[in-house]
């Protein structure tokens, strides 16, 4: 346990056109992580809206050692964004979260506390338990979400209640290990990460989080997403 208070957390946030949101997130992370050693790594995929300019301004306010801008020339996908950010992470723990404020930084202390209490390798945020929740979803969106969840729980027995959530804390070595064997994209990528980690026997804990969808209908699930999801499920059945 004596290494625990030397823990450093690297918060990796992939962005694309998140000029306003990245500033809000950075402010909220600094507000809620007061006595914690951390850095924020912004992996921006060449946003045309000036996200990177804002990040540079934020570096002036908070310090270049606290906010790292590790940009890439163009949109190259979420999975590789994490790998890219991970290369520059100096913490022994890594937090990954979305930039659109659907993941609120106020939950970061509970992730860290949970890790400290349990010594977990991964702490994953779950929307489907008491004190968790979702806002801004239509009935259809809820229905597909529940259906997808029941299907995955029945077929994969993953041992976690929220497979497609992407607000997670990883021990750095564990993230490096798991991410190298993941090939999926989008929603399925998050599911593959947690299922592979579970199969490898890593200790996974959950904390409740709330998920506020501010851009109404932004996470609409169309037919093609459902097909991708089913393919992902089949892929995980035969490979894990």
């Amino acid at each position: 346990m004596e290494v625990q208070h030397k823990s450093k957390f690297s918060v990796i946030i992939p962005t694309y056109n998140e000029r306003l949101n990245i500033a809000l997130i950075v402010y909220l992370v600094f507000k809620h992580l007061r006595d914690v050693d951390f850095e924020i790594i912004v992996v921006d995929d060449g946003s045309p809206d000036g996200t990177q300019d804002i990040v540079k301004q934020l570096q002036q306010v908070y310090g270049e050692d606290r906010i790292l801008l590790r940009a890439r020339p163009k949109k190259l996908g979420l999975g590789t964004a994490y790998i890219h950010g991970l290369k520059h992470a100096s913490g022994n723990f890594v937090v990954i979260m979305d930039a659109d404020l659907s993941h609120h930084p106020k939950y970061l202390p509970s992730f860290i506390r949970k890790q400290l209490e349990t010594g977990a390798d991964i702490v994953t945020g779950t929307r489907y338990v008491k004190d968790g929740g979702v806002h801004g979803w239509t009935l259809m969106r809820k229905l597909t979400s529940r259906g997808a969840n029941v299907l995955a729980q029945t077929l994969l027995w993953p041992g976690v209640s929220d497979l497609t959530g992407s607000f997670r804390l990883y021990r750095k070595s564990v993230l490096e290990d798991v991410i190298s064997s993941c090939v999926s994209k989008g929603y399925v990528f998050q599911m593959e990460m947690i299922v592979r980690a579970s199969r490898k026997g890593y200790h996974i804990e959950e904390v409740p989080i709330t998920f506020v969808d501010r851009v109404f209908g932004s996470s609409k699930l169309g037919g093609s997403e459902i097909v991708e999801y089913l393919k992902g499920l089949a892929y995980l059945l035969v490979t894990t």
Binding site: Y27, L28, Q57, V61, G133
Partner: protein
């Protein structure tokens, strides 16, 4: 062991049990023949029930949306004061 193998093993074990039941005819054969149908139907019912219950108890958090709005106002104020121009100059913020 791949997960699909685990599930297949389970299915094979259950089928073996079923065949055994057919052979020994402890219960009347006509009943035993119907068991796989019961199995599939109950599996479907379980799925529908889980989705239904999950949908009814779907945790929602309307208050969180309000809290987030407050946080955004607070953050914008602070950032403006620090000279971070989060609002693009060509957009007039209402």
């Amino acid at each position: 062991m791949k997960h699909i193998v685990k599930i297949m093993t389970l299915l094979v074990a259950v089928s073996a049990l079923w065949v055994g039941l057919l052979q020994t005819s402890i219960v009347p054969q006509s009943h035993t023949w119907l068991l796989p149908i019961y199995f599939v139907v109950s599996l479907g019912c379980y799925g529908l029930l889980m989705v239904g219950v999950g949908l009814m108890q779907f945790p929602t958090c309307p208050q969180e949306a309000l809290l987030l709005q407050q946080d955004i106002v607070e953050a914008k104020q602070y950032l403006k004061q620090k000279g971070v121009d989060v609002i693009p100059t060509d957009v007039v913020d209402a």
